[in-house]
């Protein structure tokens, strides 16, 4: 192989794929990045066998070929090279990559490209294809992926449910204590409903990449359904799917509520952040008092506010009232303040509605004043014995 490309482009491509490099693998080739020619462009690939990333970089190809080289070292070298043209040449006999950039020359010992795992390519992959707008995908992923579980005891919960039905896409994720669901319209309709669970990590990467490259995403579900491929303008992401049945999120979302409170999202977020100063030493418990819980509202002002309160028995306590539009009975409920921060940070609308029923039933957050179909369910906390 002999090619040349711009330092800037190669550095960008490597930073794109390096997130898939295996950090601690018994298979040395997985710690390497694949560097090879592909129809007049340079193709970079990395995989940890759970997810795989491919990226194409514009290059002048003089001789076809490929090799794998240690990912960290190569990325570091390219990043610190001067912004000039880089020439790469593979010596297949010694499995060495010769590198030249300006006055710098280097050679890197690699592993033969044939040892690198085969990754499905978008143009060859068979299966159901769905087109999704990149900006929509980025937004949907951001609103959902944080709710996925991090521990492995219930594998399905470490994933994001991705559903396509007619002209709608729905993503859902849940850990043991909260659930995030977001739907969006597709340009075209799918023939038959599709439902897969994609690891949250892969969805997170997809969100990160699509923010950088934009454009449209072609989602390809392979026939035997154990892989999903997201094809973008210059990047492909392949992920294994998680087997199992995702809990039916429709059953978890409450159908009705007793109390609905609408507040300014940014104001609410700030208030919760301040409450956490005290809540930190008290299991992050943040109490919300909607209207005048404990009695009828004395004044209209009391009824139309949300009081956010936190206390730690050793440290002290703090409270803050914010104006609110309250509908229904007054109520007091407690949540983990971190969970409130998480949802308020992604809700995306200037105002947010919180729907409540009792102090021990779930709280439902929804954006207000937008078409966005986003629902977030948080389970409350309570103090034992009360």
């Amino acid at each position: 192989m002999r090619i040349s490309c711009l330092q800037e482009n190669l550095a960008r491509g490597l930073s794109m794929v390096s997130r898939a490099v295996a950090t601690r693998s018994t298979l040395p080739v997985l710690g390497n990045v694949y560097v090879g020619t592909d129809g007049g462009r340079l193709k970079l690939m990395a995989t940890n066998l759970e997810i795989g990333l491919s990226c194409w970089v514009g290059a002048r190809v003089e001789e076809e070929g490929a090799i794998t080289v240690p990912a960290r070292l190569f990325e570091e070298l390219v990043k610190q090279s001067p912004p000039e043209r880089i020439e790469l040449e593979v010596d297949t006999r010694t499995e060495t990559l010769h590198y030249r950039c300006g006055s710098l020359s280097a050679s890197i010992k690699g592993i033969g490209a044939s040892e690198f795992p085969i990754m499905p390519a978008a143009d060859e992959a068979e299966g159901v294809r769905v087109r999704v707008d990149g900006d929509v995908m980025a937004e949907v992923v951001e609103q959902v992926v944080f709710a996925a579980a991090t521990d492995e005891t219930r594998p399905v919960l470490t994933g994001v449910l991705v559903e396509f039905e007619e002209d709608r896409m729905t993503l859902a994720a849940a850990d043991g204590f909260r659930l995030s669901v977001r739907s969006a319209r597709l340009e075209g309709a799918v023939e038959a409903p599709l439902r897969v669970i994609v690891p949250a990590r892969a969805m997170g990467e997809l969100g990160r990449i699509v923010k950088q490259v934009g454009g449209e995403i072609l989602v390809i579900l392979t026939p035997n359904r154990n892989q999903v491929l997201f094809h973008m303008a210059e990047v492909d992401l392949v992920s294994q799917l998680i087997e199992g049945t995702f809990p039916d999120y429709r059953l978890i979302i409450p159908k009705s509520f007793e109390t609905r409170v609408v507040v300014d999202t940014a104001r609410f977020l700030e208030t919760v952040r301040r409450a956490l100063i005290f809540a930190r030493d008290a299991a992050n418990i943040v109490r919300l008092q909607v209207g005048n819980a404990g009695g009828p509202a004395e004044t209209h002002e009391q009824a139309a506010r949300l009081v956010v309160r936190a206390e730690a028995s050793e440290t002290g306590s703090g409270e803050e009232a914010i104006p609110a539009a309250v509908e229904g009975a007054p109520l007091e409920i407690a949540f983990n303040g971190r969970y409130l921060m998480d949802v308020l940070s992604v809700v995306g609308s200037p105002q947010v509605a919180l729907e409540l029923t009792t102090p021990s039933s779930p709280g439902v957050f929804r954006p207000v004043g937008t078409e966005t179909e986003f629902t977030h369910v948080v389970m409350p906390m309570h103090l034992g014995g009360r």
């Binding site: 005891t153 043991g176 204590f177 014995g385």
Partner: protein, 586 residues
């Protein structure tokens, strides 16, 4: 007041006291009778921990009508005829004590029919007196029903522990026999709920599966030792692999010639075989059957026959130790734990009494006193390192500067007067425990509601605790409801357990810890202790510098003199003086 012979009813009650201390003893005696009667199906039914009702039904040989009344006479037995027979007892019972003793302190109904007779007999007794005897229709075998145990000995009744505790002991006894006799079908029913049923296939593994579940059986190795021709001793059973260990010795179960026994000597033999295989402070899991010629064994030592005396204890010790060790070495890569370091300061001691190292104290007259047994059974405390004494002073820590984490287990800190090593798990546990206790006093333990209720399968003992300590669990933040059979639904978790990798397992672990804690604390305290334990970071969890600083900050505010869950040291100090000595600066 002159000396006089006690009237028979008083004498009987005293004799009964030796055999029947609590419901579990009744179950034991009745199950042994059923086994001696050759039953292949034994069903034990218990209500209210055995206070209200104990019923043991078997399909054994039954008792002929003309001998039924005799069965309740003292020293009436079909199992031993002459004194000579005592030295070659093959049956579990032999003294003729059990039935009269039980009858003396309860209301007993026995329904029995030998297979070859058409009609059975029903006999009713109350306080040892026969109330009625009549012919009755009966299935082949014997059904003994014991009601209102200790109705005429209020003092004994008062000393019964909670239903959960008594039920737990009964479950333990029945499960032990189910394991000893895997070829017989055992069913245990508690308050109308089937707690377990062994299939009676004759395979120990099947019985283990029924009693302890798949998680345990998966890790068990089958021990199939052949007969040792010299000593005539055979050791077989199942033992846990290195991954299976427990916080106490309750899961070291021994059967000697089919009899469930407690034996410090056998325990020591197994623990010695496991040395270096399970972590220090943990105990192996083993179900071992020791078979030997009956003349090598004296079973008539203990009123409840829980202990036996071996004629050649050292041979038994060696046979058991060798058989277990051999299998461990064959089946599992043994990796040795090194002895603790020498240069260790005295840990900050507990103010309360430390938990006993040896909960089952060898009783006077027990086998541990036999010279033969002693030679082969080293005192278990000798495995423990002796920690040299020096005073740290005070019950609070001085301000410490975190240097780093070692072996992802210890936090290394610099103090004003030396180097401090902090066990991250016990330290965090102490912090959580104090917090939980404070929150509990204010009825304010934070609980997190689950998005979807979790279902958890419990053991009979765990379930009994859930039933009985429902309110205590709720105050601790566990909202748990029965869900049929052994399954419960968990709706909320204590906040400290929220990040437990397996919240469902956390409940079972907390219950187990509390069940096997023998420090005489209240259920509430025990459950609190184990909630703190399970919520704490584990040894092996990597911590960031900030996390360590925060943990040490919280530990500095903690009163170290209060008991922690394991009675293990939390902080070990290497004083400046000691360091200087080691480096020859002094």
């Amino acid at each position: 007041m002159g000396i006089r012979v006690l009237p028979p009813d008083v004498a009987n009650k005293i004799a009964a006291g030796e055999v029947v201390e609590r419901p579990a003893n009744v179950v034991k005696e009745l199950v042994e009778n059923a086994l001696d009667a050759g039953a292949t199906e034994i069903r034990v039914e218990v209500q209210r921990g055995g206070r209200r009702l104990i019923r043991v039904a078997d399909n054994g040989c039954g008792i002929p009508a003309d001998q039924v009344a005799l069965a309740f006479e003292h020293h009436a037995t079909s199992k031993v005829r002459t004194a000579q027979d005592l030295f070659s007892v093959h049956t579990l019972g032999f003294r003729g004590e059990a039935l009269p003793s039980i009858a003396a302190v309860s209301r007993v109904t026995m329904l029995t029919r030998p297979r070859e007779q058409a009609v059975g007999t029903e006999i009713r007794l109350a306080g040892g007196e026969v109330v009625s005897t009549r012919p009755a229709a009966a299935p082949a075998g014997t059904v003994v029903t014991v009601e209102d145990l200790f109705f005429n000995t209020p003092a004994r009744r008062k000393f019964l522990r909670t239903v959960a505790t008594e039920m737990g002991l009964i479950a333990e006894i029945v499960s032990h026999y189910a394991l000893a006799y895997p070829e017989r079908r055992f069913t245990l029913v508690g308050d109308g709920r089937t707690l377990f049923q062994t299939p009676g296939t004759g395979e120990l593994r099947d019985a283990l599966l029924a009693v302890y579940g798949l998680d345990v059986v998966r890790h068990m190795l089958t021990l199939d030792a052949s007969l040792d021709p010299q000593s005539g001793i055979r050791v077989h059973g199942a033992i846990g692999g290195p991954a299976l260990h427990r916080a106490n010795r309750k899961y070291l179960i021994f059967f000697v010639n089919g009899r469930v026994v407690r034996s410090p000597m056998l325990t020591a033999a197994v623990e010695q075989a496991y040395q270096g295989v399970v972590p220090t402070g943990r105990h192996p899991f083993a179900v071992l059957k020791v078979e030997m010629p009956p003349d090598q064994l004296d079973v008539n030592v203990h009123p409840q026959k829980l202990e036996v005396r071996f004629a050649r204890g050292d041979e038994v010790f060696r046979a058991v130790q060798r058989a277990v060790r051999r299998l461990l070495v064959e089946e599992a890569p043994v990796h040795r734990y090194t002895r603790p370091v020498e240069v260790v300061d005295r840990p900050l001691e507990e103010a309360g009494s430390p938990p006993p190292l040896w909960p089952e104290k060898p009783r006077p007259g027990g086998e541990a006193r036999l010279p033969g047994a002693m030679s082969g059974s080293p005192a278990p405390s000798s495995h423990r390192p002796e920690l040299p004494g020096a005073d740290v002073g005070g019950t609070k820590l001085p301000p410490l500067r975190v240097l780093g984490q070692m072996m992802t287990t210890y936090i290394v800190c610099e103090g004003p007067d030396g180097l401090y090593l902090v066990d991250q798990h016990t330290a965090h546990e102490r912090v959580l425990l104090e917090r939980l206790r404070r929150q509990r006093e204010r009825q304010a333990v934070p609980a997190q509601r689950l998005l979807q209720p979790l279902t958890v399968e419990l053991t009979p003992q765990q379930l009994a605790v859930v039933d009985e300590q429902h309110d205590v669990l709720r105050r601790l933040g566990f909202e748990v409801e029965p869900f049929g059979g052994l399954t419960v639904v968990v709706r909320t978790l204590p906040e400290v357990l929220k990040d437990h990798p397996d919240p469902a397992a956390a409940l079972a672990e907390v219950l187990d810890g509390a069940i096997h804690d023998r420090r005489g604390l209240s259920w509430e305290e025990r459950l609190t202790v184990y909630a703190a334990c399970r919520g704490a970071v584990k040894a092996g969890d990597p911590l960031t510098h900030e996390e360590m600083v925060e943990l040490i900050r919280q530990l500095e505010q903690t009163d170290l003199s209060r008991t922690c869950a394991h009675g293990r040291p939390t902080v070990v100090k290497l004083s400046q003086a000691q360091l200087e000595r080691e480096f020859g600066r002094r």
